[in-house]
Symmetry: C2
C-alpha cells in the first residue's frame, strides 16, 4: 500500500519503501523493543556480520527471523561498501531493506556513507539507534561520563606498519586528565580479536618506540570483555598484572578503559571496589524470549 | 527462597536480595528487553524522576507496573542522595530494591555514590545499562564517533553565578578539532528545561564576557530534542539562525552538538543532508506493547 509520508517540511511524496539501519544492541538482553519491532516488520534483512559480535549469536537471531519467513542474509564488508551501496539503494526502492548491525548502526563510518548516498539518490532512511559499547563501557566503568576524552581503536600492526596514533590519543587525554576508551582491533571474518594482554604489550612497545612514558606499570586498566554475554566481565588490573598474568579473557570483543592520572575520590573508591569484586553481567534473556516478544509485537500488524 | 550466588571468585554466600540500578533508556521504543525483565521481577521499584525525562511518560510506566502489583514510587533527588542512601541499602537487605532511571543509570554521579556505599556495606549491586543520549546523540548526528572530545552540561546562571566552564571545554575541543556534546541544563522538579535558543544566547554571552571567539555566527549546531518521543527531532542550524529564529523546539530535553571546525567530507555531506531533510524519530512502541512484553517475559517466572 502506498503511504502518504512527510519526508521534509517542504515536500510530501509517495514513498512505499525505504532503507533502515537497525541497531541490535550488544546482545539479546540489550536489544530494544523498537529494533525487534522493525525486524519483525521488515521482509528483507541484511545482517552485518563484520562490524562486531552479538550475543548469544547472530546465527541464532537469523534462525528466528527465518522462522518468521524473513528473507535474511548475513553480509560481509564488501556487500555494504563501495559498489554494493548502489545495489542496496536500488533494492530499497522496491521494498524496505533493513541493515541490522550489532551495537548502534552509526558508530562505523561505512554505514554513514550508505546514508549519505541514499539521501543523494532520494531514498528515505530511518536510523534505529541502540545500546552501544561507547556508552555502556562508560556506564560500567565507575568513571564519570564527562571526564572521557576522545576514544580510539588500537590496531594490530599489519604488513610491517605499526599504527602509533593511539598512544598519542591516550597521551593527550592523560595530559588533560581525561579517561580514554580504547576499542581493541577485531576482524570478525578472519576470527581475529586483539586480547587485553596483546593490547597491553602493544601499548608498552609503542611508548618505548616513541620514547614516551604515557602509562606506568602500576597504572590501572579497566578491562571489559564480551559485555552482554554470559562470559561478560569487567575487571580492574594494573598494567603489569595484565602483562605478567596469564591470559584469562576468553571471550571477545574487548574494550579497555585507561583512566585519567588523577581520579575523583568517588571514582577511586568505585574502582577499588570493582577491583576486589569482579562485576559480571549475567544474561537472562533467551532466544525463545526474543521469539515470543517479536510474536507479541507482531500481533497488531498481522 | 535463598539462592546460592557466587559474588566474588573468593567467596560464595547466601544472598537473597540486592540493589539493582535499571536503565529505562530514552523511551518505550528505546528500552531493552533486559530492563523490562528486571522491572517485572522486582517488587519494590523506585522511579528516579529528576535525572531526565522518559517518553511517553514515567507516569504511564508507573501505571503499568502498579497494574502488575509492583510497589512502585516516584522519587526525587533527596530520596536518592545523602542520608537516604543508607535507608535504601537497608531496604535492599530485606528484598530486591530496583532504582529505575531514564537513560543509562550510571551517567549521573548520584547513582555511583549509591553503588560505592552498597559495596562498602556488603550489599550486592547489579547495573542494567541501557540506551543513553551520550551515544545516541553521536549516532544520530552524522558525525564520527572517535572525533568527539569531552562532553559538558551548559548550566543556567543561578544566584548571580555564571558557569563559564562549558565555553572552555568547547574551546579546547575545537582547538583539537573535536566535536562537543553539550547537554542542556534541566530541573525536572522545577519544570525548567534550557531551550536551544537560550543555550545559543548563553554561549554567545559567555564568549563575549571572556573575550573569546570560540563560535562564529555561521557555525553549524546540531540540535536534538526529545529523542525517542513523537516530538523528537534532529535539526542542523547555523548559530545565527538559532539566535534570530523563533523558538520552535517545544519538547525537552535538549542536547546540542557543536561540530569541530573542520569536518571530514563524509560528515560535511551528511550534515548538509540533515540540514535539508530534518530527520524525525517516529515512535512506534505503545505502552500497551510494553505491558504485553512484560507479560510475555513474566510467563516463565510465574
Amino acid at each position: 500500500m502506498k503511504e502518504l509520508r512527510n519526508i521534509s517540511p517542504r515536500r510530501v511524496c509517495l514513498a512505499d519503501s525505504m532503507l533502515k539501519l537497525i541497531g541490535l544492541g550488544l546482545s539479546a538482553d540489550l536489544i530494544t523493543l523498537r529494533s525487534l519491532l522493525e525486524l519483525m516488520k521488515c521482509k528483507r534483512i541484511l545482517i552485518d556480520s563484520y562490524t562486531s559480535m552479538w550475543f548469544p549469536s547472530l546465527d541464532s537471531l537469523i534462525d528466528i527471523l527465518r522462522k518468521l519467513s524473513k528473507h535474511c542474509v548475513k553480509v560481509y564488508r564488501e556487500s555494504l561498501e563501495g559498489k554494493a551501496i548502489n545495489e542496496i539503494i536500488a533494492m530499497s526502492r522496491e521494498e524496505d531493506v533493513c541493515i541490522a548491525v550489532a551495537g548502534d548502526p552509526l558508530i562505523a563510518t561505512t554505514h554513514s556513507s550508505l546514508i549519505v548516498e541514499a539521501f543523494k539518490q532520494g531514498v528515505e532512511v530511518e536510523v534505529i539507534p541502540s545500546t552501544s559499547i561507547l556508552s555502556i563501557a562508560i556506564s560500567l566503568s565507575c568513571l564519570q561520563a564527562y571526564r572521557f576524552g576522545k576514544c580510539v581503536t588500537l590496531v594490530k600492526p599489519r604488513n610491517g606498519i605499526v599504527f602509533e596514533y593511539p598512544i598519542y590519543v591516550i597521551e593527550e587525554n592523560r595530559n588533560r586528565n581525561l579517561h580514554t576508551i580504547l576499542l581493541l582491533d577485531l576482524d570478525v571474518a578472519q576470527g581475529y580479536y586483539m586480547t587485553p594482554k596483546e593490547a597491553a604489550n602493544l601499548l608498552v612497545k609503542l611508548q618505548e618506540r616513541l620514547g614516551k612514558r604515557v602509562l606506568d606499570y602500576d597504572d590501572y586498566l579497566i578491562i571489559l570483555g564480551a559485555i552482554g554475554s554470559e562470559y561478560g566481565s569487567i575487571q580492574v588490573l594494573k598494567l603489569y598484572e595484565l602483562i605478567e598474568g596469564e591470559e584469562r579473557y576468553n571471550t571477545p570483543p574487548y574494550t579497555l578503559i585507561i583512566p585519567a592520572k588523577k581520579l575523583h575520590p568517588m571514582e577511586e573508591e568505585c574502582i577499588e571496589m570493582l577491583r576486589l569484586r569482579k562485576l559480571y553481567f549475567r544474561p537472562r534473556i533467551s532466544m525463545t524470549d526474543i521469539y515470543k516478544v517479536i510474536r507479541v509485537l507482531s500481533s497488531d500488524y498481522e
